[in-house]
Amino acid sequence: MAMDRNQASLSQPDAEWRMATLLTAPSAAIGRGVFRWVRNLGAGSIFLLLALAMIFRPKQFHKIAQQIYYIGASSSLVILLVGLFTGMVLSLQSYHALVKFGAEGSLGTLVALSLIRELGPVLTAIMITARAGSAMTAEIGVQRISEQIDALGTMRIHPLKYLVSPRITASIISFPLLTGFFDLIGILGGYITGVMILGVNSGIYFHRVQASVELKDITDGFIKAIVFAVIVSTICCYQGYFAHMRTDSHGAKAVGRATTSAVVLSCVLILVADYMVTSLLI
C-alpha cells in the first residue's frame, strides 16, 4: 500500500507535466516552424546575395548563355502553348460576359491588360518553375549527394559561382523575355477566339489593345517577372544545394523531396509576391 502511495505521489507531477506538454505542443510546433522559416529565409537571402556577387566574376558569360538557352529558349514552346490557350480561353469567357453589356468592343482591352499586368508574369513564372526550376533543384541536388559539389570545392571552383550564379542570372534575363513572349502570344490567342471565331471587329480589337496598354503596364509586368525570377531561381537552387541537409530524408529521396518543396514553395511565393508587388506598383 505504501509503495502504491509513493507511486501515486511520483506520478502526479509526471501527469501534470504531460498535460502541460500536450497543451503547449501546438504552440511549440508553431514556434519551431517559425524559427525554421526565419532561419531558412536568412540563409536563402545570404545564398542569393553571394550568388549575385559572383555574377561578374570571370568565365561566367558562357555558363550564363548556356542557362539562358536552357531556361529561356527551351521553354519557348511550353510558353507558346500556355500563352495561346490562356489568351483564347480568356477571350472566350470575357466575350460572353461583355456581350451582355454590349461592350464586346472592349475585348482587346480586357485581354491585353489581364495578360500584361497579371496572367503573363504569373503563368510564365509558374510554367518555368515546373519546367526549369524543378530541373535546377534535381540537378544540383544530385550533384550534392554524389559529392560533385565537394569536388568543385577541392578544385578551387566556388560552387555558388559555378552552379548557382549563372542560373539566377539567366533566370533574371529569361523571365521578362518569356513574359513578353507570353503576352504577345496571349493577345494573339485572344484575337483568334474573339475575332476569327466570335466575330469581333479586327480593327477594334487591336485599336483597344493599343489604346489601353500603357508603358507602365509593360514595365510593371517586367518588374514582376524579375521578382519572380529571383524567387524561383533562388528557391530551386537553394533546395538542391542543401538537399543533403534535409532531416526528413536522405540520398535520392532527399533530392525528390527537395524538388517537390522547391516547386510548391516557388508557386506559393509567386502568388504572394504578385500581390505584394502589385500593391506597391498600383
Partner: protein, 405 residues
C-alpha cells in the same frame, strides 16, 4: 626531422553524438607517399577531408607547414588549397560531362590557359591514364576502373604539390589495383608531389608507401615505415593487418609476407640444427622499362606472371614464396642443398625463357598497340641457410649473389 607538411594535434571530430576521430595526432612529411590504413568506417576519409578543409575539427589543431589553419588568412588558405588536389572515393566525376570535359574542368575554371594548352595537357593525362578511347564518353558509359582513372587524371591535371587519394583502388581487379598504385608511385617520383592515400589494400599499398599511419579505435595508433609496421606489437596489428592482408597476395597468388613467416617458423620447428634450406631471391630488374614502354597494367601483368612461374616451380616441390618489394620475390626451399636449388633454378630459368617471357609479352601487348621492344632482365640469387640462421641474413646473402638469369 623537418617541419611536417601537415600535422594534427589532438584533433577530435564528432557527428552528432558519434565520435569519429578522437585526439588524433599525426605528421605528414613533404615529398613522401603516406598511407592511412584502417578498416572501413574507421574515419579515414573524414581524416582526409580535414586536410583539404571539407571538414573542420571540433577540437584540436591542424598545422600546415607549422602554421595552424585557424590562424591563416583567407588568402593563405586559398593558396594552400591551390597546391592540393583530391581524388574522391566515389570519383565525383560530373556525369553530364565527358571524360575530356571532366579532366579539362579545373584548368578551364581556375587558370587563364588558352584552349590549345588546355587541350595539350588534358590529352597528355588521358594518354598517361590509358583513356584515349573513352575520352568522349560520359562517366556512366565507363567501367568502374575507367572512372577511377578519369578521376585520377582530373586530380593530376593541375600538377598539384599535394594529392589526396581517398581509396583510389576500390572496386578494381588485382592487376588494375596495382597498376593504379604503381601509377601513383610513378607520378609521385616524376613530379615530386606529396601523396596522401587512404586505403585498406594491404600489402599492396606498403610497396609504394614511405610512411604508414594506422587508424584504429578512432585514433592514430601507429606512424612509421612499412617495415616498422611489421614489428608493431599492438591489437591493431593482430586484428586489422591480419584480417586485411589475407593468406595470399591477390596479384601474384604467392603467400603474404606474414604467411611466409608463419610457414618458415613451422618449418624451423621440424628441423634438426644441421638441416639446410635454400633461399632464392628474384628481381624483375626492368620493371620501370616495361611500364615506360607498355604502361602500368603491363608492368603489373609482368609481376603477376613472375609470381605465377615462381609458384609453379618452387611451390610444386614444397617450397613457399612471397613478394618482398614491388619487383622482388623470395622463395624458400626446405630440405634442399645448393646443388639441388641450382638445378631447380635452372629449370625455372629455362621455362621462364621459353614461356614466361611470352606470357609477359602477351599481357603487355594486350594493353598496348605498341610494337616496340624492351630489354627484359631478371636477376636471381641463391643462398643456403640453417635453422639457427636469421632468415633476413640469408635473404640478404641471396640478394648479394644475384646475377642475370
Amino acid at each position: 626531422m623537418d617541419t611536417p607538411l601537415i600535422e594534427f594535434k589532438d584533433v577530435t571530430k564528432r557527428f552528432g553524438s558519434r565520435t569519429v576521430l578522437e585526439r588524433v595526432n599525426l605528421q605528414i612529411y613533404e615529398g613522401q607517399v603516406t598511407t592511412i590504413i584502417g578498416l572501413s568506417g574507421a574515419g579515414k576519409s573524414v581524416l582526409l577531408k580535414h586536410i583539404i578543409g571539407l571538414v573542420t575539427p571540433d577540437e584540436g589543431t591542424i598545422f600546415f607547414r607549422g602554421k595552424p589553419l585557424t590562424e591563416m588568412k583567407k588568402s593563405e588558405m586559398t593558396a594552400n588549397l591551390a597546391q592540393m588536389s583530391y581524388m574522391f572515393q566515389d570519383n565525383a566525376l560530373f556525369d553530364s560531362m565527358t571524360v575530356y570535359e571532366n579532366i579539362a574542368l579545373p584548368l578551364r575554371e581556375t587558370t587563364n590557359l588558352g584552349e590549345a594548352e588546355i587541350d595539350r595537357r588534358v590529352v597528355a593525362r588521358i594518354e598517361q591514364t590509358e583513356l584515349v578511347e573513352a575520352s568522349h564518353k560520359y562517366p556512366s558509359e565507363l567501367s568502374g576502373g575507367m572512372q577511377k582513372r578519369a578521376a585520377l587524371a582530373r586530380a593530376l591535371v593541375t600538377d598539384p604539390q599535394i594529392v589526396l587519394f581517398d581509396e583510389p583502388t576500390t572496386g578494381q581487379d588485382p592487376v588494375r589495383k596495382n597498376a593504379i598504385l604503381s601509377m601513383i608511385a610513378e607520378y609521385q617520383r616524376k613530379f615530386g608531389f606529396t601523396a596522401i592515400l587512404v586505403s585498406h589494400e594491404i600489402p599492396d599499398v606498403c610497396f609504394i608507401s614511405n610512411r604508414i599511419l594506422a587508424l584504429y579505435d578512432r585514433t592514430v595508433v601507429f606512424q612509421g615505415t612499412p617495415e616498422e609496421l611489421e614489428n608493431f606489437d599492438h591489437p591493431f596489428h593482430h586484428e586489422i593487418i591480419h584480417s586485411l592482408e589475407g593468406l595470399r597476395e591477390e596479384l601474384t597468388g604467392l603467400h603474404s609476407r606474414r604467411q611466409f613467416e608463419v610457414l618458415y617458423r613451422n618449418q624451423l620447428k621440424q628441423r634438426a640444427l644441421d638441416d639446410t634450406y635454400c633461399v632464392v631471391v628474384f628481381t624483375l630488374e626492368t620493371l620501370d622499362d616495361i611500364i615506360a614502354a607498355f604502361g602500368h597494367e603491363a608492368g603489373q601483368k609482368a609481376i603477376q606472371t613472375m609470381g605465377a612461374f615462381i609458384d609453379k616451380h618452387f611451390g610444386a616441390i614444397g617450397g613457399f614464396s612471397t613478394r618482398l618489394h614491388i619487383n622482388e620475390f623470395v622463395a624458400m626451399l626446405s630440405d634442399c642443398d645448393l646443388a639441388e636449388a641450382e638445378a631447380i633454378m635452372e629449370d625455372f630459368t629455362r621455362d621462364f625463357q621459353d614461356h614466361g617471357i611470352q606470357d609477359i609479352w602477351n599481357g603487355a601487348s594486350k594493353q598496348t598497340d605498341s610494337e616496340q621492344c624492351v630489354d627484359f632482365t631478371v636477376l636471381g640469387g641463391l643462398a643456403q641457410g640453417w635453422p639457427n640462421t636469421e632468415i633476413g641474413a640469408v635473404i640478404d646473402l641471396a640478394r648479394s649473389q644475384q646475377k642475370e638469369v
